[in-house]
């Protein structure tokens, strides 16, 4: 690094655009980074991936703990069994996810992108593999420049192979959440994987390979819609990764130590030593010193990198840091920033989140262990039977959502003299459904049209399990 006075020299890290309507992709070689935020990211990589790769192997009461059984159309989540009829909860869960996203994006920007998004997580894993075989940034660039040198090619193919193995395992794990793991393992070992399972293993695995190995920042820049609509959730009080322009500029090299800092500052130079490491570590290849950009996924790699450099220079850390637009403009301290987290939109998001979240938990907790669908026979509306009685035909679909066999007593009410021909006690095995046809009869009362009647289905063993279902009885 030179220490000539105030050389306002800009290292052309980002090539000058060639004024075409198309942008030729520059390969990004992210340099490995350590530090607070890298640790956070790795913690989340471990956390999410132990969950993802591990959970499908966990047993629970003699079945897979988490299984979205597509063939049976039952969704097992530990002690809970959801049926397609519970899709409502999925909708609420999506609403909760959306509000959470709004909330933490308004507070601290693209936390999801930087730490938890599969694209980031798998890219991180793939980059680790890449580094293992091909070395860090500078080495990789050198090795790519001579890519067909036998050693370089061997290292490259070892990397491809490892990536492919990870991808296949990822695809296999994915399918293991939708098709029981033990059956899937059997079918894989016997080379008898079903066509759809094979498709999804390859498709999901292939997407992992393409996303984390090949496309990388292109996914974030050109394919992900979230990157494009995040700006509406940002405001001047949102924490974003920022380069302190005022403190950093004018940038330039100099010797380390506070004495040299004063000399530099006397010549009008800021604290940025223009080492370009913040650019080298960036997984999307941007220069954070140009300000907030849509490509920034908020991973904090540049913060870690810059802090290390500042430390070596014996300067205070935080030239690049989480800060807000207002904080920079008004020179706020940390306390001011924290105080401004509490603002109307944050309060509204939080309140909605608490509201919907509690409703969700309450709904799941009070979900009945029995569901009953009553459907009228679509063919015959009503008919007259012996004794001047009117008969309507219904199908009772009794779904036992609990994981034990249940016997239910069926009764019908709502019209005087109403009775039915059909099973009065129905036994339904655990987590399955039984259909039964009931011929409901009532005396012709002369009042033509639909009459409200009720079917009551009650568990004999547990009187809390009951359903009161409305239906209509047609008098011709």
């Amino acid at each position: 690094m030179s220490n000539t006075a105030a050389p306002r020299r800009v290292i052309p890290i980002v090539e000058v655009a060639e004024d075409s309507l198309y942008e030729v992709r520059r390969k990004v070689y992210p340099r490995a980074v350590t530090g607070t935020f890298a640790r956070w990211r790795w913690t989340l990589v471990w956390f999410t991936q132990i969950l993802y790769y591990g959970m499908c192997w966990m047993p629970w009461n003699g079945r897979q703990a988490v299984l979205f059984h597509l063939v049976e159309r039952k969704f097992y989540i530990f002690g809970m069994v959801l049926w397609p009829q519970d899709v409502f909860f999925l909708a609420v869960l999506l609403i909760i996810s959306a509000f959470s996203l709004f909330l933490f994006t308004a507070v601290a920007g693209r936390l999801w992108c930087g730490y938890a998004c599969p694209q980031t997580v798998y890219t991180e894993i793939f980059l680790w593999v890449e580094k293992f075989f091909q070395g860090d940034r500078a080495q990789r660039m050198r090795r790519d420049a001579a890519r067909w040198k036998p050693e370089n090619a061997a290292r490259r193919f070892a990397k491809y192979f490892t990536w492919a193995a990870i991808s296949l395992w990822t695809g296999f794990t994915f399918v293991g959440y939708f098709s029981p793991m033990n059956e899937l393992v059997d079918s894989v070992l016997n080379w008898q994987v079903g066509p759809w399972e094979l498709f999804w293993i390859l498709f999901y695995g292939g997407s992992t390979y393409m996303g984390a190995g090949v496309l990388r920042e292109q996914v974030c820049k050109y394919m992900c819609p979230y990157a494009r609509f995040q700006s509406v959730m940002f405001d001047a009080d949102t924490l974003v990764i920022t380069y302190d322009n005022e403190r950093g500029e004018a940038r330039g090299g100099r010797k380390k130590g506070l004495v040299n800092r004063e000399i530099a500052s006397a010549t009008g130079m800021g604290d940025c030593v223009d080492c370009s490491i913040c650019v080298q570590v960036c997984p999307t290849g941007i220069d954070i010193r140009n300000g907030l950009q849509y490509e920034c996924i908020g991973c904090g790699a540049c913060i870690d990198a810059c802090d290390q450099v500042m430390e070596k220079m014996e300067y205070p850390k935080g030239l690049i840091r989480y800060s807000t637009q207002n904080a920079l403009a008004k020179h706020w301290q940390l306390g001011d920033i924290v105080r401004h987290i509490v603002r109307p939109r944050i309060l509204i998001y939080s309140a909605l989140l608490v509201l919907v979240g509690s409703a969700f938990i309450w709904g799941l907790a009070s979900k009945p262990a029995l569901r009953v669908d009553v459907s009228r026979d679509r063919a015959a509306l009503a008919r007259e039977v012996e004794g001047g009685l009117i008969e309507n035909v219904y199908r009772l679909h009794v779904m036992n959502v609990s994981e034990v066999t249940q016997r239910y007593a069926v009764s019908v009410s709502g019209l005087s003299g109403i009775e039915f021909v059909g099973e009065h006690i129905i036994e339904v095995p655990a987590t399955s459904a039984q259909s039964t046809t009931l011929r409901v009869r009532a005396p012709a009362d002369g009042k033509r049209g639909a009459h409200v009647i009720y079917f009551d289905v009650k568990s004999i063993a547990d009187e809390r399990i009951k359903v009161h279902e409305k239906a209509s009885f047609i008098q011709p």
């Binding site: 679509r378 063919a379 015959a380 007259e384 001047g388 008969e391 035909v393 259909s435 012709a444 011709p476």
Partner: protein, 332 residues
């Protein structure tokens, strides 16, 4: 593609398709070589006072995706019909595809139908698979009127009981399915001069035949009228004649047993029709359908030619009909 009324449209469609693709290629090419005036521009639109949109360059690999769509469309037009009356190298038509599917279905299912067609109806009714096939056919073609459980509805007979309007032997049922049945009860029977009072009297008599509540005086008067107006078809005791007139004494009612309904029947007559399915479905399916109806338990032995029996008991077991109703509803 013989749908064109004149040769012009053939040329028109071909030209418009090819010119559009050519235009896309030219546009792509011109945009590839276009040089912007330097740096990233904004689109020039401003919203909400200061909101502008960058016109960032597109990723280069998208360009190849665009060219790929051009190649795809040309390949598509080469193998599938699309360019006017050009048939495409695959010679595909929706009619061909339909025919092929039909042929495949015939090939796949034909032998199964054939197997049951060759069997005796009672044997088919006793076999589980044959009965299930009949049941599925019943759900498709018959349940709309006769109900999913085959117990009928107003104007549509119950097929599970012993009351048969046109005979309950397997052969007679098969005839009903294949050829259909037309039934007509003339208004006021054989006495066109019946007045309202007399019709009510008749209705009371008819109700009395199956032991329903009635006005005894009216019923007595009605009984006399019945002999002249109705007995020719329904018989002196109203027990009916198979193939001619329903039994009025068995408690089984095609239309409602309410006095108002009987009055309506007598004063306006009834006309009803079971459509013929023979030509539409073919012998094999009619055979299976008949077997299913026989399996419901209401049919009579082949040698039985007596009119509908007088007992009013429902069919002994209509378990299959219930299962049928379930299946039908399950389709919903």
């Amino acid at each position: 593609m013989s749908d064109f009324v004149s040769g012009f449209w053939n040329i028109y469609i071909t030209a418009i398709s090819l010119i559009s693709i050519l235009f896309c290629v030219l546009l792509l090419w011109s945009q590839s070589t276009h040089k912007s005036t330097g740096g990233v521009q904004t689109t020039g639109h401003v919203w909400d006072e200061d909101l502008e949109e960058y016109s960032n360059p597109m990723p280069n690999w998208w360009r190849w995706l665009f060219y790929l769509t051009v190649i795809y469309s040309l390949a598509y037009l080469a193998v599938y019909p699309g360019l006017g009356s050009y048939k495409g190298s695959f010679g595909w038509t929706s009619v061909n595809e339909y025919d092929a599917e039909q042929k495949q279905a015939e090939h796949d299912y034909g032998p199964i139908f054939e197997k049951y067609r060759a069997m005796d109806i009672h044997a088919v009714a006793a076999s589980t698979e044959g009965k299930e096939m009949g049941q599925r056919l019943f759900m498709t073609y018959c349940a709309q009127c006769h109900g999913s459980d085959a117990r009928g509805a107003n104007g549509c007979p119950n097929l599970t009981d012993k009351d048969w309007l046109w005979g309950g032997t397997a052969a007679q049922i098969k005839e009903s399915v294949a050829l259909g049945r037309d039934a007509m009860m003339p208004a006021k029977g054989l006495k066109p001069d019946l007045n309202g009072e007399q019709i009510t009297d008749l209705a009371n008599h008819v109700r009395s035949l199956s032991g329903l509540a009635n006005d005894a005086t009216r019923a007595k008067r009605g009984k006399e009228l019945f002999t002249t107006a109705c007995a020719a078809c329904h018989g002196p005791e109203g027990k009916g004649t198979v193939g001619l007139a329903p039994n009025l004494s068995d408690g089984s009612w095609l239309y409602s047993s309410a006095e108002s309904s009987i009055v309506e029947t007598i004063s306006k007559g009834r006309s009803n029709r079971m459509p013929a399915f023979g030509e539409f479905l073919g012998e094999a399916k009619v055979h299976l359908l008949t077997a299913y109806v026989v399996s419901l338990g209401g049919s009579m032995a082949d040698n039985s030619v007596s009119p509908a029996p007088t007992d009013t008991a429902a069919a002994p077991s209509a378990a299959t009909a219930e299962a049928a109703a379930e299946n039908n509803l399950a389709d919903l």
